[in-house]
Amino acid sequence: MFDNVWLIPLFPLLGFLINGLFGKKIKNEAVIGGIGTLAIFGSFLVSCGILMEMISRTPENRVFEKVLFPWIHCGNFKADMAFLLDPLSVVMIMVVTGVGSLIHLYSIGYMHGEEGFYRFFSYLNLFCMSMLLLVLGSNMLVMFIGWEGVGLCSYLLIGYYFHKKSAGDAAKKAFVMNRVGDFGFLVGLFTLYWWLGDNANVWTINFMEIKKAAHLLPYGGVVTVATLCFFVGATGKSAQIPLFTWLPDAMEGPTPVSALIHAATMVTAGVYMIGRMSFVFIKSPDTMMVIAVVGAATAIFAATIGTAQNDIKRVLAYSTVSQLGFMFLAMGTGAFAAGIFHLMTHAFFKACLFLGSGSVIHAMHYALHHAHSHDDAQDMRNMGGLRKSMPITFITFLVSTIAIAGIPGFSGFFSKDEILWQAFSNPYHGNLNIVLWGIGAIAACFTAFYMFRLVFMTFYGDCRINAKAKGHLHESPLVITIPLMVLGFLAAVGGYIGLPKLIGELFGGIPNYFELWLEPVFEQAQEYGHHYAASGAPHNAALEWGLMGGSVVIALVGITIAFTMYIKNRDLPGKFTSTFPALHRAVYNKWYIDELYDFLFVNPCKSLGNFLWKGFDVLVVDGIVNGVAAVVKGGSGAFRYTATGYVHNYAFVMAAGTVAILGYYIFR
């Protein structure tokens, strides 16, 4: 089965080609959607087969590399088109193909009747292929194909409604910001490759070979430079500070896109990349700290913005940024398995939330359309009380919200709690740990608050929708609700494969399967970590129980505040806003980060470009050129008068010349 790994990206590629080339002629939405969905579902089946086989193998035999064909071979540089299978990439392909299949299915319903239906599915398939290349790539360059490929697809899909200017802007912004990250990725790649080659004579970009040679790398120093560069790449792709502003704008794309790309898969690529190269990252304590701090900062920062947004998708977008911050916090604290675990659970509940919001928007849109109203279908202030008309959507949404808020028993609790515990108890950051934990905990509180605010505003209370539209509200069709139900189910129970040890012990020593599964991947990293950190976290069961309880309480506090503000006492938000107008304005306007970037980068670049063009290129460079030409022309103008064009002038000169020459020879 391992040998057939190439089938996984191949199916979506075929789907992309068929839909892209012939989709316009097929026209039948069922066929197009069917092809797209089957393509990714085929990949899912192959992935399942691979997962089965991997489970049946012993942990030592779980790494497998499949070389398809040599790609770039040049001198000592070798990059093959090759795929790597190990427990980590299998987790990722399962998530990508699994969630991807559901979202494809959902899209058939959601995108029904849209212009360019085939275009959407071909892009979606292309995205899946790129994402699978990213996670399967056995060297950095194949990963980079996927890395940029998903950026491209994200560009295409955000700009799907290209006739809207905002969509085009958002798409461009996303791509350019990703490009900034890619720049970091490339420089990091170069640094690592060059250093290993120059100093250790290991010329490679293959992950497994680097892993073997990782003991040659120093602690800190050049590794810090390289990993920081990689981390810049990760911030770009995973929307962390400072490159996070594209993600909320990316909500211009259709909702399934937001669910697939901007929640479940693409944005987690940065986390995956750090996990993939954990053995390099861990060698630089400074980078680890930077990652942890950036992660924590992003988590709290995005969470604050999320509390004040009214667009249902924007709230979810900021929530995604915030949750990604949690993942980076995990990575930065050396809890790689926990980060990946949260990645997975997040993929379930956030995909479910996005799809749920999509279902709501779909319904709202339909209703508003039939009521001939121009109200914004995505504005939560126009919703309310939807739980009666959309029960399935409501239940799955609620389950996912509970999961993300961190209520015990649901998947989010296990993963988030693990991260917070690791942030508190990891051996790497010393006194910083308590700060990291504190920030994480507050961010968790905010998460619970804004998510329940979302639920309360959307599904509870009075229906604020246009009265005419009210009657048109109805539950979405089955093709939309089935993925919701599956994802909702996974959001609820998906956490049980990574039961914290503490809880597992209660139930007769159930191990943390997920951690166990990934252990061989991160073993080496942990080993390196112990070189400079105290070996093993201080294991204090009481403390861990305490913190666990603490995080539950924090989540409940957030929910309670939301309940108070949006159910019980509806005047509170208004009061709050009028009490702190400046704060509200700042939060509502996303802390003016976009404006800051415009001021710092975009506008200076534009005016510099304009100056260089009109001021320098035309005036100075071309001025010199034309100046030289003018001088020559002026000089030759003096001689020009000898050439009058009159025959007799020439005849005079000729005759005089002949006479002079002959005279000279005769009379000399």
């Binding site: 007799h648 005089a656 006479v659 002959l662 005279g663 005769i666 009379f667």
Partner: protein, 168 residues
């Protein structure tokens, strides 16, 4: 002596008529003066024992070419030129012309004036006849150039027809 006297007379007429060619305002007068000059040339050719050349001179130059020129002058309907359109750069022109003459005379005095001699004596000319001599030379030794000349004339005919016809 009478030869010199006759030469002087003919040369004088030639020079005067040439000056008239340059000086007359009406192109027709110029042309007529030129014909006069050509006839003087023909006379000189006879004096130089070249009667065939003299005949050719009269027929081709004074006859054909000048008729052509006069015809063109008539065709273009040219009148006497006003003083403004008459001449320009007289002084410079005269200086150049005088210098030319000066150079030629210098050449005459300095040069030995010799060249490849041949066997064509006046006696031979009277005996055989000038025309025959020319004919023999032309159609034996200079046959190829002669034929090429005919091509030149053909080209000239074609050229002039095209040039004159294009805008008609």
């Amino acid at each position: 002596m009478p030869e010199i006297l006759f030469f002087s007379l003919v040369a004088g007429v030639a020079i005067i008529s040439s000056i008239l060619v340059v000086a007359m305002r009406n192109p027709i007068n110029c042309a007529l003066s030129l014909i006069m000059s050509f006839f003087c040339m023909a006379t000189l050719y006879v004096m130089l024992d070249a009667p065939f050349m003299a005949a050719t001179q009269v027929i081709v130059y004074a006859g054909a070419i000048m008729v052509l020129i006069v015809f063109v002058i008539m065709l273009l309907n040219m009148r006497t030129e006003t003083s403004k359109n008459y001449v320009h750069g007289v002084l410079v022109g005269c200086i150049v012309a005088v210098l030319t003459l000066f150079v030629i005379s210098g050449f005459l005095t300095k040069s030995p004036l010799t060249g490849a001699t041949g066997s064509m004596t006046p006696e031979l000319i009277t005996k055989v006849g000038h025309t025959e001599l020319i004919g023999r030379a032309m159609f034996s030794q200079f046959l190829l150039p002669f034929e090429i000349t005919s091509i030149l004339l053909l080209v000239a005919i074609v050229g002039s027809v095209i040039l004159a016809k294009r805008k008609l």
